[in-house]
């Protein structure tokens, strides 16, 4: 262990010797040294630099001899980390693997090593089919590990990895401690990720506290008073939200969970409660009242945010729009018509200077934050800039807000001045004004003000980065494949052993040159993201920020997008930051930036309303995170960690081994011919063909655990193929409801019946909802008009398909048991045949039927009864409103031989009217000649 620690420290020094950019903080270095050899789940406080920790791991494992796979990253994550790895000039380029990369390229890329961002589905298939050299996988990183609680693919991947490499390394990262603080969630996550250690990194840890306090932020908190009428408005809106949540709870719960109500009611105005999240997960089943209340709560929260951040005139316009909208009036739960709402309108009108219908512009109160913002900007202009700080970059100022609308308004306030902006916002109320438009009084030089639009900056460069990486790795993979092939050819000549060695070395040298070329081009593209700043000449005299024409950037940061602020801080290197709205994550990121750049001076100005809902939200978020970490620390002490991971697979049941009797069931005495099994076949595990899209559910994992070999492939007819005769279509309750409404399930069952003898519709998870937060839906006993319609369509499905079998199971485990019984005496399925069956096929089936018809007619007078192609019948019945019997008659007896004949000139409406209704015939003829090209 000590040797490994020394090696890791050596690696740390080596990897960071190239550049000074990413200096490790003390606690980060200590954590990395402690956890590097182990499989760890990192739970980091929100905003406390999880990206840095993850990036350090990626840099350490960027080695051609190591293969590190990264799971559960989205496009934002991939573009950010790929850019960062290229900035640090790591030894081996990162790679992005998804379904667009072909199989041969993937196999070659895996052998290249390094860090590879993989999509879960592609990685799962490659692991199941042994395309990845598992012994060379050094580590698997799981980003956003808290999402694994609801997903099954990543857990299945880790299970396969543990099965093939028991001592492999798995590292999981998350900075959402609130997701794990429920009872038992940490244990579930540890079990699901197959790891042994949990590393908690809260903000209040003494190591982190002392490290961040070494370079304390120069923070100035500006307290802004809330006007009394506005405070009343906030309180009333909060009351509305609480009433809606209480109503939602009343009509959802059956009187249980009293303790949870009081606990969660504190942060109801800002965050969705657990009940709302569960209702959102089952939004296919919720009742109309629940849906209405959910919409109202979301709308009220938005209005609360708006009233906190924006000016009164904007809030007033928004509420008037809501009041005048008929759709909103019909669909809301009644708060717009209450006396409290009228009181809100009166208070807002008072602040806006409107009294009894008369508008007075002079009484319009200026938003308090605007005044404080102008004072702050005036103070920033007076900040001195030392000579050593000036350097290559011109100074800049950041203003951080929480929404796009607020960013636009702040930009306008700074550009036009308070008086003009006040006039412009007041005018949108619609009242006439005798006041002329005031002149511009900019708070900052207008030429240097810019607003960073997120969509315009991030959208294009993100996809470009990933596309360039894939293009590069494709070229590299092809070249490596040729080189490896050439090396294999040379290995046949034993007498030329030395020549072979020289050639291989020559190939490596050539490879390095091309790689450096690619790096240069990619780094240039990354640099394009950065806005070029003018360089100032170094002068001897100290100057103020105002004299240096500093740039002022207004930006929006959201909780979801964590990389915008990080990029801004690194590219702009601001001297001063104005936090117009407070966010816990934003403050943490600024603290980390300050600690990692001790040479730069930084002033932070923080605008906050005193004793307001904004302050309460901030304090509440700190409190929640602290409580979450305390719960996690307590649960960490009682975690059950197994010595060996449970990746055992059961043996699939066989007919010869089975000793179970049928419980007195009467069965046929005839012996099934398929009971006779070859001895060789017993050695292999039975296999089940599973459609690719089914890996989002839990059933393939359970089947794999039960001992079946899961063959993952794309099949178009059926979801699970158990034998050449058995096809199963699995539907969860929500999926079944949607399929019945859209008619897709009719087509699926029809095609399965056409190609397989046994067609099963597996209705899964049909257990009565235990928490009773929803009524149950169409297959749980709910009696409503909507559910009756769904059941009516289901009855039509049963009428139309007498040979369809329905299987109802409670859980994926129950389904797997059913599969075991079916597989007991069934032969193995044919993978090639399952793949070759295609949906919506017209040609082959018709030709086969025609051939059989012709051959039969030559042999006997009465041949096989002709059947029309079901796709053609379905098309005619659905599009043109023809009945099935009429369509059958049309195809069998008329002169029409192909679908194209329906629209030909030789066939007239009167010909068609002999077999189908005249309205349909006329419609077909009108449709065939209607000109769609002209508008």
């Amino acid at each position: 262990m000590e040797t490994e620690t020394d090696d890791s420290e050596t690696s740390l020094n080596d990897s960071f010797g190239n550049k000074d950019g990413l200096e490790l903080l003390e606690y980060e270095r200590a954590t990395l040294a402690k956890t590097l050899p182990a499989s760890v789940l990192f739970v980091v406080a929100n905003g406390l630099g999880l990206e840095r920790l993850f990036l350090e791991h990626l840099i350490l494992f960027s080695d051609r001899r190591l293969l590190a796979l990264v799971l559960n990253t989205n496009e934002h994550d991939e573009s950010y980390f790929v850019s960062k790895l290229k900035e640090h000039n790591v030894e081996c380029d990162p790679k992005v693997i998804n379904s667009e990369v072909s199989i041969k390229d993937r196999q070659s890329i895996y052998l290249e090593g390094g860090v590879q961002f993989c999509s879960s589905r592609v990685l799962l298939v490659d692991l199941l089919q042994n395309r990845i050299p598992t012994d060379r996988i050094a580590a698997i990183f799981v980003y956003r590990a808290h999402q694994t609680l609801n997903a099954f693919q990543d857990s299945f991947i880790l299970r396969l990895y543990r099965e093939k490499k028991p001592d492999g390394t798995v590292k999981a990262f998350t900075d959402f401690p609130n997701s794990l603080s429920s009872l038992g969630q940490l244990q579930r996550l540890v079990d699901r990720l197959y790891i042994r250690h949990v590393e908690l990194m809260p903000r209040f840890s003494s190591i982190i506290e002392s490290e961040l306090n070494r370079y304390q932020l120069k923070t100035a908190i500006f307290s802004v008073d809330v006007p009394t009428p506005l405070r009343r408005v906030h309180r009333t809106i909060i009351e509305f939200i609480k009433v809606c949540v209480r109503d939602l709870r009343t009509c959802s719960t059956s009187g249980k969970q009293t303790d949870e109500q009081n606990e969660e009611m504190i942060h109801v105005p800002w965050a969705a409660t657990r009940l709302e999240k569960r209702l959102h997960d089952r939004r296919g089943h919720i009742s109309e009242k629940q849906q209405r209340l959910l919409n109202d709560v979301a709308s009220l929260r938005e209005i609360l945010q708006l009233s906190e951040n924006m000016d009164v005139a904007t809030v007033l316009s928004r509420l008037q729009v809501l009041k005048n909208d008929r759709t909103v009036l019909e669909e809301h739960s009644g708060w717009l018509l209450s006396p409290s709402f009228n009181r809100i309108m009166e208070d807002l009108l008072t602040i806006a200077g409107v009294t009894n219908g008369k508008a007075d512009y002079k009484k319009f109160a200026t938003p308090a934050k605007w005044t404080v913002l102008s004072e702050i900007l005036r103070e920033i202009k007076m900040l001195p800039v030392e000579k050593k700080d000036r350097g290559n970059d011109s100074p800049s100022v950041l203003v951080i807000t929480s929404s796009e609308d607020l960013s636009r308004q702040v930009t306008d306030v700074v550009r036009y001045g308070i008086n003009k902006m006040k006039w412009m916002t007041w005018r949108q109320l619609g009242y006439k004004s005798t006041q002329e438009m005031p002149e511009d009084e900019p708070l900052w030089d207008p030429d240097t003000i810019s607003q960073l639009m997120r969509s315009s900056v991030d959208g294009e460069s993100k996809s470009e980065v990933i596309a360039n990486v894939q293009k590069t790795q494709k070229t590299t993979a092809r070249a490596a494949q040729k080189r490896r092939k050439h090396a294999e050819e040379l290995s046949g000549f034993s007498s030329d052993h030395r020549v072979q060695t020289n050639l291989i070395q020559f190939g490596i040298l050539q490879y390095k040159r091309r790689k450096s070329g690619n790096e240069a081009s990619t780094s240039q593209e990354t640099t394009e993201w950065e806005v070029k700043e003018e360089m100032e000449e170094i002068e001897e005299i100290t100057k103020n920020i105002g004299d240096l024409e500093a740039e002022l950037v207004v930006s929006t940061t959201r909780e979801r997008e964590r990389y915008t602020l990080l990029k801004l801080l690194e590219t702009k290197k601001p001297r001063a930051i104005v936090l117009y709205t407070m966010s816990l994550q934003t403050l943490r990121q600024i603290e980390i930036y300050r600690s990692t750049n001790p040479n730069r001076s930084l002033h932070v100005y923080w605008l906050q309303y005193t004793e307001s809902t904004e302050e309460s939200r901030y304090l509440e978020s700190i409190n929640r995170e602290t409580m979450s970490f305390e719960l996690l620390i307590r649960e960490q002490g009682t975690l059950l960690i197994s010595r060996e991971f449970n990746v055992d697979r059961e043996d699939a049941p066989r007919l010869k081994i089975s000793t179970r009797d049928g419980g007195g069931a009467r069965r046929d005495g005839a012996v099934d011919p398929r009971d006779q099994m070859d001895p060789e076949e017993e050695l292999e595990r039975p296999k089940i063909i599973v459609d690719m899209r089914e890996f989002n559910s839990e059933l393939p994992t359970v089947l794999y655990t039960k001992g079946y070999n899961v063959v993952a492939t794309t099949i178009e007819i059926g979801d699970y193929i158990l034998s050449p005769n058995i096809a199963i279509e699995r539907k969860a309750l929500d999926d079944l409801t949607q399929s019945l409404q859209s008619g897709r399930v009719f087509k699926q069952i029809e095609q399965m019946l056409e190609h397989y003898d046994c067609t099963v519709l597996l209705i899964e998870s049909n257990r009565k909802f235990e928490t009773k937060i929803v009524n149950g839906g169409p297959f749980q006993g709910e009696l409503s008009r909507h559910c009756r319609e769904i059941r009516s369509i289901f009855c039509s499905l049963i009428w139309a398909n007498p040979k369809m079998r329905c299987v109802w199971t409670i859980s994926p485990t129950n389904s797997a048991e059913f599969f075991s019984e079916l597989k007991l005496s069934a032969p193995e399925p044919d993978v090639d045949r399952a793949i070759s069956l295609k949906a919506d096929q017209v040609e082959c089936s018709s030709q086969e039927l025609t051939d059989s018809e012709a051959s039969t007619s030559t042999k006997a007078k009465k041949g096989k009864k002709w059947k029309p192609n079901p796709t053609v019948i379905r098309t005619l019945t659905q599009i043109f409103g023809i009945k099935a019997s009429e369509a059958h008659n049309l195809l069998a007896n008329s002169s029409i031989k192909t679908l194209a004949d329906l629209f030909s000139l030789n066939i007239t409406a009167s010909h068609l009217s002999d077999f189908i209704p005249s309205t349909s015939a006329d419609f077909i003829k009108d449709l065939s000649t209607f000109n769609f090209g002209r508008k």
Binding site: G664, R666, S742, F746, C758, K768, G781, L783, R788, R791, S792, C795, S796, I798, W799, P802, K803, R805, C806, V807, W808, I810, N814, E817, F818, E821, L822, A839, D840, V842, E843, S846, T850, E853, P868, N869, R874, T875, Q878, I879, F880, K883, L891, A892, S894, S895, I896, K897, T898, L899, A900, F903, S904, F923, L927, S928, F930, F932, G933, K935
Partner: protein, 262 residues
């Protein structure tokens, strides 16, 4: 719940009485199904017939209290409910199956019950842990090719029986999603209807998407032009490759009629 149990008990007693009938009565009951079969209305008039309920087994069943929207009459039939000339339903509660495990086999394997094209076992789940009963009934229905439907309330069971009856003659009316016309409010109703039908027709071909259908209609103008176009000219349409052109051409020109001579 007690009322349900009493009904089930009475059903049990009647079932036992039925088994104790002598040979002479069995001959009589053999004649009844045949006469019932002959007295059944023809297929063409089946829609106007009433729901037929098995008197011997289902008298006193609480499900009948909730059958309101369709008219039903008593009859001597093999299954418990006859929702149509070719549709038979056997009703079974999970608790009853727990007490009498072999009862379901006599119903599933009975000759009278298997005369029908559609055979449904309507299972009423009235127990807390239905896992094992579900497993048994699933396997039974799978092996004997019966359709298994699970309900959780008596009202739901009654509604299914009603719907089996009312959807007999009903064509499958699938709710069509409105095709997005790109916000073109100037499109006339006739054009919109024709466009929906044309796009629906073209997307029935394999791998043809709505965007492809839009492009084809704009490029060729009419469905008649598309149906007479060759595979090469279809692939010349922008956005449509050779694979989609081949799929569409085979969709339009595959022989779908048995009359090869013409």
């Amino acid at each position: 719940m007690k009322h349900t149990e009493e009904s089930l008990m009475s059903t049990t007693e009647k079932s036992r009485k039925a088994e104790e009938d002598d040979e002479k009565d069995m001959k009589k009951r053999t004649q009844f199904p045949s006469s019932s079969t002959s007295s059944d209305p023809p297929v063409g008039i089946g829609g106007s017939g009433a729901l037929v309920v098995n008197r011997r087994r289902q008298e006193g069943n609480p499900v009948l209290k909730y059958v309101r929207n369709v008219r039903y009459e008593w009859g001597d039939i093999g299954p418990d409910f006859e929702c149509g000339p070719t549709f038979g339903v056997v009703y079974l509660s999970f608790k009853y199956h727990k007490q009498h495990p072999e009862y379901v086999y006599t119903r599933i394997n009975g000759n009278a019950e298997n005369r029908y094209r559609n055979k449904v076992l309507l299972g009423y789940c009235n127990m807390e842990e239905p896992r094992h009963v579900l497993r048994e009934l699933n396997m039974i229905c799978f092996r004997e090719a019966w359709t298994f439907v699970v309900v959780y309330t008596v009202e739901e069971a009654a509604e299914y029986i009603e719907l089996f009856k009312t959807t007999q003659k009903k064509e499958i009316t699938i709710k069509k999603k409105a095709i997005d016309d790109g916000g073109d409010s100037s499109m006339s109703d006739e054009r919109r209807r024709n466009r929906e039908a044309a796009i629906g027709f073209l997307t029935a071909a394999r791998s043809i998407t709505k965007t492809d259908a839009d492009r084809l209609l704009f490029h060729f103008g009419t469905l008649q032009a598309i149906s007479t176009a060759s595979e090469t000219s279809i692939s010349a349409c922008p956005g449509v490759g050779p694979i989609k052109a081949k799929n569409l051409h085979s969709f339009l020109h595959a022989i779908i009629s048995p009359n090869e001579q013409d």
